[in-house]
């Protein structure tokens, strides 16, 4: 059981990273972006292409770091993948969502648009890399034996640390940097932001870029922990939304806790259920949250009818 | 300035509502007597629209009670409040954009058999008959507010002033005990304004409907309303006939600022 909780923390940290970025985007663009999971997949596949194809062709040494399953190529691929994914997200905003904003579409149209984008990204991944699973590496690394029969792979410790670093980095960015504060201000009161001289279109670009870069990292870390599949983003959608809603949608710090909770519950559930039921477990948590604490989660007094 | 509580249609007792630390309405007590056109005036931010939202069920009060025709209605959802016989309009027009003007009105009547799922199949005669009644009534109302020529136009294509009239026209489609009008005159041209005032008077005289209205146009308030209730800082400041209100030092102070303490 403790071992499952430990696994859950690892999964939870990846979900947290995904959910934090999902909710960050939500807070500014103000619609649920159903393509967020697929941005994670884009990041993972771009890194896969660099590490397993481009760098190999360039003759990079394939050394790994100590007990980790990857080495320098991965560390180089990470920022490139983040940039590429950010570029994808910003381009999508420019091609799809910005025209919708200019025509002041209702929020539902953005949501439908984001679903189309999600499937389009997935189709591209299928076309380029095919439907089969991919692994960053085939090499097996021995797990570390910890007390209470807990076994942890060195990769997983790296994943946990990387997620915590990213989330902490985002926290510092939002709290300390000028752009970060402006992002929070725009999420809080877009009209006043405009009056203060903040160009809100620029803020949207920043939001998509940062959200996508974080999603890309989460996707790569998931790829390191498990494997790459074109539908990995779609499968993550439910846990991501469940985590974001559990934490209070639009609230990045809540999403962190939400992600951890969903991750741990999903892993612990495998003691009783088939592991393939994990998305369904996230769905059940989501429904329970909506039933029990929808108002607390909405965080506003708006009444439903 | 005494109020006879026995014929009070709407009684608001010590109602309070705050939004994240801002006290929008506090210790607000007032009554609307049956058969009156009661005017609600006060400076911006006095809490008039918040009070409307509290009465019509869009907000639940933090404290206090709202009694309508002897029944408590505070905390009820808006559609239940409406069925108690209380109808409201919106300050910023909320037209149903992709529906025609006519259908914006035909939506309103209560007790439409056709609103039951499948009624169009089970009892088409009754639905058709009610549709005819609603249609005739809607045409009458549109005739009155000068929108009849636009009856088949999508509501989103109306001008802002016309949307404001549509807002009033929708309220006129019902037979409530109390109509609450949120700035019915804002943005309506002067000629129409005069006939609008006449129609409100007729609603009271002929159909026995009580009216509570928020208005900034003092000519409308002073010419139409009796009594006039003045709100300031979320509570009732004064109540009286237009003449009394116009001479009330406190009211003058609240509007002009200064010595209102």
């Amino acid at each position: 059981m403790i071992a499952l909780v430990v696994d859950g923390v690892i999964l939870g940290s990846i979900l947290s990273l995904g959910a934090v970025s999902l909710t960050l985007v939500y807070g500014i663009v103000r619609f649920a972006n159903f393509a967020h999971g697929d941005l994670m997949a884009v990041g993972a596949y771009v890194a896969f292409f660099l590490v397993n194809t481009a760098f190999v062709a360039l003759g990079f040494p394939d050394a790994t770091f100590g007990p980790l399953s990857f080495g320098l190529p991965m560390l180089l691929a990470l920022p490139v993948a983040m940039l590429v994914t950010a570029g994808v997200a910003v381009s999508v905003d420019r091609l799809v969502f910005r025209p919708m904003r200019q025509r002041s579409y209702a929020p539902v149209m953005f949501v439908i648009g984001s679903l189309a984008v999600a499937f389009a990204i997935r189709a591209l991944l299928f076309i380029i890399w095919g439907p089969e699973f991919h692994f960053f590496t085939q090499a097996l690394r021995p797990a570390l034996q910890l007390p209470y029969e807990v076994r942890v792979k060195p990769d997983q410790i790296f994943i946990l640390l990387a997620c915590l670093t990213m989330v902490a980095g985002l926290y510092l960015f939002l709290q300390r940097s000028k752009i970060g504060k402006a992002l929070r201000a725009t999420a809080d009161n877009p009209d006043l932001a405009r009056i203060s001289g903040i160009n809100t279109e620029h803020m949207l670009v920043w939001t998509w870029a940062i959200g996508a870069a974080m999603a890309a990292t989460a996707g790569i870390l998931l790829g390191i922990d498990a494997q790459l599949r074109p539908e990995m983003g779609w499968n993550l959608l439910l846990p991501l939304f469940a985590a974001a809603i559990l934490g209070g949608i639009g609230n990045p710090y809540g999403a962190l806790i939400g992600g951890m909770t969903i991750g741990i519950v999903q892993q612990v559930s495998t003691a009783f259920l088939l592991p393939t039921y994990k998305p369904a477990v996230a769905f059940v948590i989501l429904i329970l949250v909506l039933l029990i604490r929808p108002r607390g989660i909405l965080g506003s007094e708006q009444r439903g009818f | 300035m005494t109020t006879d509580t026995t014929d009070a249609l709407l009684e608001i007792d010590n109602v309070a509502k705050s939004f994240g630390g801002l006290q929008a309405v506090q210790n607000c007590s007032l009554q609307v007597r049956r058969g009156t056109i009661t005017g609600l005036i006060g400076p911006n931010g006095a809490g008039k629209t918040t009070l409307f939202n509290l009465i019509s069920g869009f907000y639940a009060p933090d404290a206090g009670s709202i009694v309508f025709q002897g029944k408590r209605i505070d905390g009820l959802p808006p559609h239940r409040v409406f069925h108690h016989g209380l109808c409201r309009t919106f300050q910023v027009p909320k037209e149903l954009k992709q529906m025609t003007v006519l259908e914006n009105l035909m939506l309103v009547p209560t007790g439409q058999a056709g609103e039951v799922l499948g009624a169009a199949w089970i009892m088409p005669w009754r639905v058709r008959q009610q549709e005819r009644e609603a249609y005739d009534k809607a045409l009458d109302v549109l005739e009155f507010v000068n929108l009849a020529h636009l009856r088949d136009e999508y509501a989103e294509n109306l001008s802002t002033g016309q949307k404001k009239l549509l807002e009033l026209a929708r309220a006129m489609m019902t037979d409530p005990q109390l109509i609450m009008l949120d700035e019915p005159g804002a943005g309506v041209n002067p000629t129409l304004l005069t006939s609008l005032m006449e129609q409100i008077e007729r609603l009271v005289a002929e159909r026995g409907i009580t009216v509570l209205l928020i208005e900034h146009n003092m000519a409308v308030v002073m010419g139409l309303c009796d009594p006039v209730i003045v709100m300031s800082n979320g509570e009732k400041l004064a109540e009286g006939t237009p003449a009394e209100i116009q001479q009330n030092e406190q009211v003058l102070a609240a509007y002009l600022g200064g010595q209102n303490r």
């Binding site: 909506l290 | 409406f82 259908e103 058999a113 609103e115 019902t174």
Partner: protein, 329 residues
Amino acid sequence: MTIEAILSSGILNYLVGFLIVASIYALFTLGLNVHFGETGLINFGVAGFFAIGAYTAALVTKPLPTGELARYTQQALGLDQPFLVGVIAAAVVCGIVAVLIGIPTLRLREDYLAIATIGIAESIRLVFNNEQWLANGSQGLVGIPRPLYDLVPPAYYNYIYLGIVVLILAFVAVLLERMIRSPWGRVLRAIREDEVVAAAYGKNVFGFKLQALVLGAMVMGIGGALYAHNAGTISPGVFEPVFGTFIVWVMLILGGSGNTKGVILGAFVFWAIWAGTQFATDALVPPALSARAPYFRFLLIETLLVLMLLFRPKGILGEERFVSTLRPR
């Protein structure tokens, strides 16, 4: 040529098969139109109701496997009931699921229903995939009986089934059209436009949303049942979101969300485009990539939807100006 030769010719057979599937998709589109087109509810889980309808119909009309078959096929029940009982059961079960999903989500903002419907669709697929005892797991069910199968020789059977499907489609379309274009549908449309106004004028917004969700889901269930009897075999893989949900959305937007004739037209037009792209990809995609050819088609329709949303959000036909047809003219 004899009549027999004409009826059994390849092209005509292809056309009949095409019309059957397009008509079934038209039913999904009609259901989604009640949800989104009329009421503004975002249902991203059409595939879920599709699956529930198909499996319910299969389990209600199939007998329990016996003898040798029972060793390879497991199913929780097999009621061996007539076709129409299966169709009705499919609708009822979908309606019940819609109630269960509507209660927690319909009072909240629109995105929550979207997420929850994706959740139900994915969870349903997982359950049918993993629970061997329920409906034979990932292998799915085969031998779903076909109605009036003994009436004509098997080669002509598709004509009979097309007749059945078109009849049901016409029945549902007429039924829905009259309901939508009555005061009931007017309330739905008012909720779609502004639920605050609907509530202020005494409409129980939650109640109407729930009715719309249930009615649309039942229509989807009927579509699922007809699919199962047409295919004769179903497995969880059929109910993937692209085929189960996404295509239906494209049809809805293409034909004209909010217009009954439009969404049926959308289903047929889209299905024709879809068939056309098959020939196109067969011709254009190099054989080495042929395994990935379907994804070129997916990419194409996804682009089509985005273009529709941006440049023609009202679709081919657009909405009828008047909701109510029962009013005097």
